[in-house]
């Protein structure tokens, strides 16, 4: 085998790399690189034509410099020249360079594509491969347009070499993934399928990858691949470990190809042809059998390769979900791995078993491993493995083992990692509810949850227990007794107080007979917690108290005393104060009958999808559906407890407060219907109950279905910062997160603008119900007109849609419009509100002006509301060029030779709106010593239209300048104390100011030059 000498053939390059590696400091490295760049530049520019070798060497050096992280802005042409060399080494470097440093320069692209075209036609397999690899690595749309039609031809041509076929298949795959529309299906597809029969295993490997990708969108075109894949797989699986020679890896025949074939088969349902199916089942059995054989090697490579095939086989078995025998065998195999000493295997086994648990055939088999899994939950060292164990317990839970699993999970919760506690809490809450046979167990479980992990019990969980207790009268007495006992603990979690307060307020009468829990005892127990609780809990307790007055008239005097106390009636919190006042009045004014009606027991809650389940799904994110989706499993046990039937005895007048605990899945009671009966005035009191407030906001789903301006959420916290980026720029990326990228391109002329918004889906999953809308808060409607075009409601994974906005500035405005984007990603609603980068200065037209005119106008603008001034500390070094660029980007003209001090900047422009035009002059005075800049603006109604007085406009404009700093990066961290040190109220001309700036004292002298 060849031993490659260091930098063989290119001594200069090896020397250069050594030099760089020997550099002691970053500075030395940069120095060395700059020297080299100068050298290369002079060589490339020199008169003497370089030979191929030198060109190759220098291009290679440039590439190395680029890989070190430096920008390379020349040498592209030389690299392109190398492409047409006849020598492999030169061509290879050329291709490498352009693959890494693709330049969208259209002239070069044409030359590059030309060179590729020549190589593809060259019939030299080495050159053809180089060209194909380059296309596959770059994968740009331009290349797709140029070559998508040629590559299928090369792929299926009879005379193509094997290595070329391999490269062509994967090259086509890349182009298809990048731009599927450019790769038309055709008669070549049938011939691609037959590549599965190819002699050369490498060609088969590449072809399987291509087919697996193509068949997902065009399953019918590739249907025939199933039988071919089965026979190929069968041949590999049944071969002896030495039959395949080159393709045997640590005694395992063609592991990667086997895995790929098994994955391809997972794109289709089980084969219909009995013979094919029989053969496939035989293969799958063989793999399972082999897992039981003693290993042929002790090397980890051997077992990894073997198990890679095994896990993929199990995935296929689970995918088919039709062979009970195989499913059970798979489960047993995984069971063995659960106790394997390799952590990786234990992890993978737990993960695969999760999917097995959801099959009705293997659910029972999975359950037999419960003890091992519980043990894993207790003893695994790696948190990710414990997490899988918890997932699996959740998946294997049914009525028979729910009590055991729930109690184990509760025990685990005490020591669980903080990161997964909330998820475990949700899972326990769901399982407890779903599989509860007697509800006292359910109540105990949830109260235990609150006791053990109160901080991680979300609202959904404790709302839910209240719903269930309210809806089932057989458990109410038990619940009251249990919470009463739980509250006796010296320290109990606030969530426990909430649940306790609510339940005793509703059902405290059921335990009042016992002298140990008589009404006064219940009250004093609750009230002993009152002072330690948050406002929301105290508000809830006040509601409990008023309910007590109704339930237990004997407590009335005590409770009225509490309500009357100054700490309640004059509470600083308006909610508490209002409740105390209203409840006190209610209890003194209303007759017993009215009280009884108003404070009647809560009606049963309408049954809806469990909000906890919805929360767990949200937490897991899209794609986690399989483990949670239990629709496939055991349909009989499915909804045994899901539907908690409302008990007819407790039905009472429907009132809006029935939605008090309306969980997120329910629409908010937007406008309470006019209630009937005596409760008229008081209904509102209850519908304001803070217990309900968290759940009352428009649910994401509901709001999503009917977007209206009132439903728009507040802009995201970064909205202002994102907006600031666009004050001096018109194009760029407005927003980006893991799912979505929003790009902006805009142009403005006079008072009109057009903006293109590009929404890019960064995931591989389609966005649904995609709807971006523009909203004008406040007065903006009359100030700015924005016309939007609708966009398609679906955005495919990796795709981008464009939206055009036509903007007209009607008059001056302060706040930018809001852009609200809503869509569904994997079933979960997403919404996002941003500030649209339209600020008043976009309609600023530069105006040239002579020095004399400038001064004259400046002097005219002397009214206080006609000027705004600001000093601010520069956050960056003050570079004249950068500042200039920013001022131009801001929209004004820069006037040279106006200010006597050449350091200062002077600008002028006109703000164009439909109603009027406003002239605006500005001046920026940098003070390099103090790193402080000073800016002053004066505005004027140059041409008043429609009788609009100019002054208010200028005032607005000045305010605009305060709110929208034109130089965001200079002013951002300006301390408020000096923000308006030199405000218009101060007489500025001719005096000096001393003020603190960022803790330093600096002296600013205003030299009158007017």
């Amino acid at each position: 085998m060849p031993a490659v000498s260091k930098g063989d053939g290119m001594r200069g390059l090896a020397v250069f790399i050594s030099d760089i590696r020997n550099c002691k400091s970053k500075e030395a490295e940069i120095k060395r690189i700059n020297k080299e760049l100068a050298n290369i530049r002079s060589k490339f520019k020199g008169d003497k034509a370089l030979d191929g070798y030198s060109k190759k060497k220098y291009v290679c050096k440039l590439l190395f410099i680029f890989l070190l992280g430096h920008d390379i802005d020349f040498g592209h042409m030389e690299a392109v020249n190398l492409l047409s060399s006849n020598k492999y080494t030169e061509k290879q470097i050329g291709y490498l360079f352009i693959s890494v440093l693709v330049n969208s320069n259209s002239e070069l692209i044409r030359l590059i594509n030309n060179a590729i075209k020549n190589d593809l036609a060259s019939r030299n397999p080495t050159f053809m491969c180089l060209a194909l690899h380059c296309i596959a690595n770059v994968g740009s749309r331009e290349m797709g347009e140029a070559f998508a039609a040629d590559i299928p031809r090369i792929l299926v041509a009879g005379d193509s070499m094997d290595s070329v076929k391999q490269s062509a298949a994967l090259c086509l795959l890349r182009l298809y993934k990048a731009s599927p529309d450019l790769v038309p299906m055709g008669e070549w597809t049938a011939r691609v399928v037959h590549l599965l029969n190819d002699q050369h295993m490498g060609v088969v490997t590449a072809a399987v990858s291509l087919i697996t990708c193509l068949c997902k969108k065009n399953p019918d075109d590739f249907k025939t691949c199933v039988s071919l894949a089965v026979s190929r797989l069968s041949r590999i699986v049944s071969s002896a470990s030495t039959d395949l020679q080159d393709y045997t890896y640590y005694f395992v025949p063609a592991p990667w190809l086997s895995v790929k074939l098994l994955r391809l088969l997972q794109c289709y349902p089980p084969p219909e042809d009995a013979a094919v199916k029989g053969r496939l089942v035989e293969c799958l059995e063989t793999v399972l059998n082999k897992a039981q054989e003693p290993p042929k090697s002790k090397k980890v490579q051997h077992s990894n390769a073997k198990n890679a095939i095994l896990f993929e086989t199990i995935s296929l078995i689970i995918h088919y979900d039709s062979e009970p025998n195989l499913l059970v065998r798979a489960c047993n195999q995984l069971g063995q791995f659960l106790q394997h000493r390799e952590t990786n295997l234990r992890y993978l086994a737990l993960e695969s078993m999760c999917t097995l648990a959801s099959s009705e055939f293997s659910h029972e088999a999975v359950k037999t491993h419960i003890d091992t899994v519980i043990n894993a939950l207790k003893t695994e060292r790696d948190v990710s493995v414990r997490q899988r164990a918890a997932d699996l317990l959740y998946a294997m839970c049914d009525r028979s083992n729910a009590k055991q699993i729930v109690s184990e999970m509760l025990r685990y919760l005490e020591t669980a990692d903080y990161a997964i506690r909330e998820e475990i809490v949700l899972k326990v809450a769901i399982l407890a509810e779903k599989y509860a046979v007697d509800y006292s167990w359910y109540v105990d479980t949830i109260l235990n949850l609150i006791r053990i992990a109160g901080d991680y019990v979300s609202e959904e969980v404790w709302y839910r227990v209240l719903q269930i207790v309210t809806n089932r009268d057989d458990v109410q007495g038990y619940a009251a007794k249990t919470v009463f006992e739980a509250l006796q603990a010296p320290a109990c979690h606030e969530n426990m107080v909430k649940v306790g307060g609510y339940i005793l307020g509703e059902f405290g009468n059921l335990i009042a007979g016992d002298p140990r829990s008589s009404p006064p005892v219940q009250f004093s127990l609750l009230h002993s917690k009152f002072h330690l609780c948050s406002v929301a809990t105290r508000a809830l307790l006040l509601s409990t108290y008023i309910k007590f007055i109704n339930l237990f008239p004997e407590t009335k005097a005590t409770i009225q005393g509490v309500l009357r106390a100054g700490s309640q009636l004059r509470n600083a919190d308006v909610e508490l104060q209002q409740r105390a006042v209203e409840y006190l009045t209610l209890s003194s004014v209303a007759s017993t009958d009215v009280l009884a009606t108003v404070l009647e027991e809560m009606p049963p809650f309408p049954e809806r999808e469990s909000s906890i389940l919805a929360k767990l799904k949200r937490k897991k994110g899209p794609g986690a559906g399989s483990a949670l989706d239990d629709s496939r499993r055991d349909p009989s046990s499915h909804d045994i407890n899901g539907g908690v039937e409302p008990t007819p005895s407790t039905v009472s007048t429907p009132s809006p407060s029935a939605d008090l605990l309306g969980l997120r899945a329910a629409p908010p009671p937007a406008a309470p219907p006019a209630p009937s009966g005596a409760g008229n005035l008081l209904v509102d009191v209850f519908s304001d109950s803070p217990a309900a407030q968290p759940g009352l906001g428009p649910s994401p789903e509901e709001a999503f279905l009917s977007p209206g301006p009132e439903d728009i959420g507040p802009p995201i916290p970064e909205a202002d910062e994102l907006l600031n980026k666009f004050v001096c720029r018109n194009n760029g990326v407005l927003f980006e997160n893991q799912l979505l990228q929003i790009g902006v391109k805009s142009e403005f002329r006079q008072n009109l603008g057009r903006m293109y918004l590009f929404y890019g889906n960064k995931t591989s999953v389609q966005f649904q119900n995609f709807s971006p809308t523009v909203v004008h808060p406040g007065d903006l409607q009359t100030q700015l007109a924005v016309q939007t075009k609708r966009v398609a409601s679906q955005v495919d994974g990796g795709a981008q849609v464009q939206q055009v906005l036509n903007i007209e500035c009607l008059r001056d405005f302060l706040t930018p419009p809001l852009l609200s984007v809503r869509f569904r990603y994997g079933g979960a609603p997403q919404s996002l509100t941003l500030k649209l980068p339209v600020t008043i200065n976009k309609f600023f037209q530069p105006t040239e002006m002579a020095a004399q005119d400038f001064f004259q106008r400046w002097k005219q603008l002397s009214l206080p509301q006609q000027e705004a001034q600001k000093i601010f500390k520069a956050n960056h070094p003050m570079d004249a060029e950068v500042t200039k660029a920013k001022l131009l980007g801001f929209g004004s003209a820069l006037l040279d030779n106006v200010d006597p001090n050449p350091e200062n900047f002077v600008g002028a422009g006109i703000i164009q709106t439909k109603a009027l035009q406003v002239g605006c002059l500005l001046r920026l005075e940098p003070n390099a010593q103090a790193q402080v800049q000073w800016s002053e603006e004066r505005g004027e109604g140059m041409q008043s239209v429609g009788g609009q007085a100019p002054q208010p406009v200028c005032g607005t404009l000045s305010r605009q300048q305060q709110q929208q700093p034109p130089w965001p990066q200079l002013q951002r961290h300006q301390p408020p104390s000096c923000a308006w040190l030199l405000s218009p109220q101060h007489q500025v001309a001719g005096s000096g100011y001393l003020g603190p700036v960022d803790g330093l004292f600096c002296f600013l002298l205003w030299l009158p030059w007017l």
Binding site: V4, R21, Y88, L348
Partner: protein
């Protein structure tokens, strides 16, 4: 786990070899693909070390021989080495 992908890595002395694949891809298969690749490098450079990779960075085409367009292209070490030897002999 990395965004919507997962990263499979293996460490050889001071060097980490990482592959970023889809979440539902076969972990073990890619773990061994890394090892297969490293064995090829080792043969090709005769006891490969980090310096070999730095000084011969422009020979990354070795990667193209085994992985292309995000997929496994060739898994036979013999075939890959034969091809590399052939390319080596070209001027």
């Amino acid at each position: 786990m990395f965004r919507n992908f997962k990263i499979i890595y293996r460490r050889y002395a001071g060097l980490y070899f990482c592959i970023c694949v889809d979440v539902n891809d076969n972990n073990l298969a890619y773990l061994e693909a890394i090892h297969n690749f490293v064995e090829v490098l080792n043969e090709y450079f005769h006891n490969v070390c980090e310096l070999d990779l730095v000084f011969n960075f422009y020979k990354v085409t070795v990667v193209d021989e085994m992985f292309l367009a995000g997929e496994i292209r060739e898994t036979s070490q013999t075939k890959v080495l034969k091809q590399l030897l052939m390319l080596q002999s070209l001027e």
